[in-house]
Symmetry: C2
Subunit: 152 residues, 2 copies
DNA sequence: CTTGAGCTTAAACTATGGTTTAAGTCAATA
DNA sequence: TATTGACTTAAACCATAGTTTAAGCTCAAG
């Protein structure tokens, strides 16, 4: 017999509160979850794998509503393969876009780190703020231009 | 005289709704914003630059409450340089962590894309699902192991 | 057969980041 | 001078993603 888990055990296993698992269940995010005769949720390894799957989709930025859509398609069987394929491919593009945006944000933060490193050393923000463009490290000058930073 | 903007013009310039600029102002996120004699907000280029600054911090994942903290420190002057420096360095680490997490999520999605590409070609999810580990592309096998994917 | 930990539910509550609404003000134009 | 469009406010509303609460149920151990 495959090992099964109560909601508390599953929560410990997954590192989330049991209330979250109940919330997901209420939203229909566990396609195969069953109950004991007295109504207690019984989590199998397969259910835990669905939970990890949901975690990955959430990490990728997918809202619960779209996860629900995906799961409904999964329940409908092989006839929905194309639609699910479109969803995961769209998600891949969304993740790539998010990573590109984060890289820009990181550059901006890199500039601010440089700015405060210089300010801390000299005791005043005037030093980095009024520095001539030619005196900036080339990468910093590039970021300033790209992020439209003119004053600070 | 420097060009100034009404809230509607500033909103167009920044590509956000005017209601968002009012909301930010109410939260104290415009340290230098002034009003006309009749109470109308007057946005200068410097205020627009603060707005773009806020946008970058938001893109980096900083909550508005922490942006507010940062702005209060900015208003307090050079005595708070060290504290602001700590904030931007911490934000840099947070962005790096977020990028690393997104890379893992992208790998997971890459696996799902492969899965549905194979399923679509054969007409059934059984094909990718039951494929022997030795028949998987090496990168796909690696992701499956790392993401603890056993069934799907 | 009682006790206690852990399970059940619905509903209220929280936090974040806004958006919308209602009622009113201001300033340039017909 | 009346209209029109853009501005003002406070307060209500919204969506997302849960968390907490209150009241009650289940089940293994003593």
């Amino acid at each position: 017999m495959e090992k099964v888990y109560t909601i508390g055990e599953a929560a410990r296993e997954l590192g989330v509160p049991a209330s979250t698992l109940r919330f997901y269940d209420k939203r229909g995010l566990f396609p195969d979850l069953t109950r004991s005769r007295s109504g207690i949720r019984v989590y199998t390894e397969g259910d835990l794998e669905w939970a990890r799957f949901i975690e990955w989709l959430k990490t990728s930025g997918m809202p619960l509503s779209e996860i629900k859509t995906y799961i409904d398609l999964y329940r409908a069987g092989d006839a929905t393969i194309e639609e699910r394929r479109r969803i995961v491919h769209a998600r891949r593009e969304a993740v790539k876009a998010q990573m590109a945006e984060l890289e820009l944000a990181r550059d901006f933060i890199d500039y601010k780190c440089w700015y405060y490193d210089v300010a801390a050393e000299s005791g005043t923000c005037d030093t980095p703020r009024t520095m001539a463009e030619g005196d900036l490290p080339p990468e910093i000058a590039r970021i300033k231009r790209r992020c439209r930073i003119n004053r600070y």
